[in-house]
């Protein structure tokens, strides 16, 4: 695998253990699966997968890594939807979102549905998930995975992600914006992200991400939670997008993400001379060498409950907005 020279120059400051970082990127990923408890109990599913060498992910009880390279897509259990092949790092954004049963959730860029189906599982198939993707060609994969996973609490839409703030202001309890990105973190799965890699593409994507994030935030109810995530290392698409966003949206507050057992790195404080907004400090970077995963970035953001009544128990978690 050959890395563009500029790629290497940019990311030397990302990790003090840069050689480990590069070595991890050159190492193929092991397959990970998520048990789909919408289709069976954890015990029931694990009993059927006893012949697989599975290691549990320390930070998620339904996540497992295959210790050996095996083809599992043809198994009866896969046909039955009892498990979903999903990269470990991709399981993080729904966990950081902490969706609750009965809530209204928006997944802005949902295809192919790994995170939508995981959110449905966390909600036990209740409430509402609007699973949107602007690309019509990607909807078949999304609906196919919804069918196989048995997701009932979903409305699939095909709209530009930027419309939600305008048409549904303050509607959603929680929003996942797993933004389209330069996908540098997926190099271990496929080196194709490097073939089209360029800084101009990164800057173009960052502008799109800002538009998506601002619109999504408008669609969030006061007190609601938004998770912004990407699978790239590019600071312009991560800390840079968030820094711009926090300057424009004073009612947005970042929150720490707690996933015991997961090794995370702090976000950058500055990049190429730009000092990032202090709110960015709660974001987390997932580097491939730390948990044997893809690279990932995410930040949990709460909308200030400024004009909402204060809860009697003093908790910051407000109940879902009243149903129509």
């Amino acid at each position: 695998m050959r890395f563009p020279e500029r790629f290497l120059q940019r990311y030397q400051q990302l990790a003090p253990d840069f050689d480990d970082f590069l070595q991890a990127l050159k190492t193929p990923l092991k397959t990970c699966i998520r048990l789909n408890t919408l289709k069976g109990s954890r015990e029931q599913i694990l009993a059927r997968l006893q012949d697989l060498a599975l290691s549990p992910l320390p930070w998620y009880e339904d996540g497992f890594r295959l210790r050996e390279r095996q083809s599992i897509g043809n198994r009866l259990e896969h046909f039955l939807g009892l498990f979903y092949v999903q990269e470990a790092a991709s399981m993080l954004p729904p966990l950081a979102l902490t969706p609750q049963p009965g809530e209204r959730i928006l997944d802005v860029a949902a295809a192919p549905g790994s995170k939508t189906t995981q959110i449905a599982q966390l909600m036990n198939n209740t409430g509402l998930i609007v699973a949107n993707d602007s690309n019509k060609r990607r909807l078949r994969g999304l609906t196919g995975n919804i069918d196989r996973a048995g997701v009932l609490n979903v409305v699939v839409t095909c709209q530009p992600g930027q419309v939600f703030g305008k048409f549904l202001p303050g509607f959603f309890d929680r929003i996942l914006l797993d933004a389209p990105c330069s996908s540098e973190g997926t190099i271990r799965k496929s080196a194709s992200a490097l073939e089209f890699w360029s800084e101009s593409a990164i800057n173009r994507l960052a502008r799109t991400q800002i538009g998506l994030l601002i619109s999504a935030f408008r669609a969030l109810r006061p007190g609601g939670v938004l998770v912004y995530s990407t699978c790239t290392f590019a600071p312009e698409e991560n800390e840079g997008v968030l820094s711009y966003f926090f300057r424009r949206m004073p009612e947005a507050q970042s929150e720490p993400v707690s996933l015991p057992g997961l090794r995370v790195r702090s976000p950058l404080k500055e990049w190429q001379g730009e000092q990032f907004h202090p709110q960015v400090a709660n974001a987390i970077r997932i580097l491939p060498q730390d948990n044997d995963t893809e690279g990932f970035f995410l930040c949990r953001i709460r909308k200030s409950p400024a004009r909402e009544p204060v809860t009697t128990d003093g908790s910051s978690e407000l109940p879902p907005c009243s149903r129509q």
Partner: protein, 140 residues
Amino acid sequence: MTDKKLLAELIRRFGFPEHLFSEWALVSHNSDIFITTPEAAEFTTIKPVRKGIRLARCFPHSIKPTTNAMQLWGQYATRNVIPLDESQANSFIQGQELKLNAEAEDGFVIVRYQEFTLGVGHYRQGILRSQVPRSRRPAS
């Protein structure tokens, strides 16, 4: 037939508990019935591509439940259920035809392997034809 009558026919044919689907919302689209949550059924602000999953397809004189829906509710069926062994189950999910003698009426049936529902088949004169959609069949 109305949605209520179609649902009653589904419950009758497979011996489902009467209130099995009562907490869910049904949404009709052309000749299909989709099943979803009440919250999703009420969502109308943005044009949906679809809601929930397809419960059944309706024909003039019959109703065909989908494999995807029966993988969720097939376990509650008490009539017109055909159990398969492992070898038969693998053939069935590949879309193959099976010759067997089953205690089932002619027409659509629910097909099981152990405690899991594999999907929907069509049974007639000792032949079970898999109705598993091509897109769901494992690559052979």
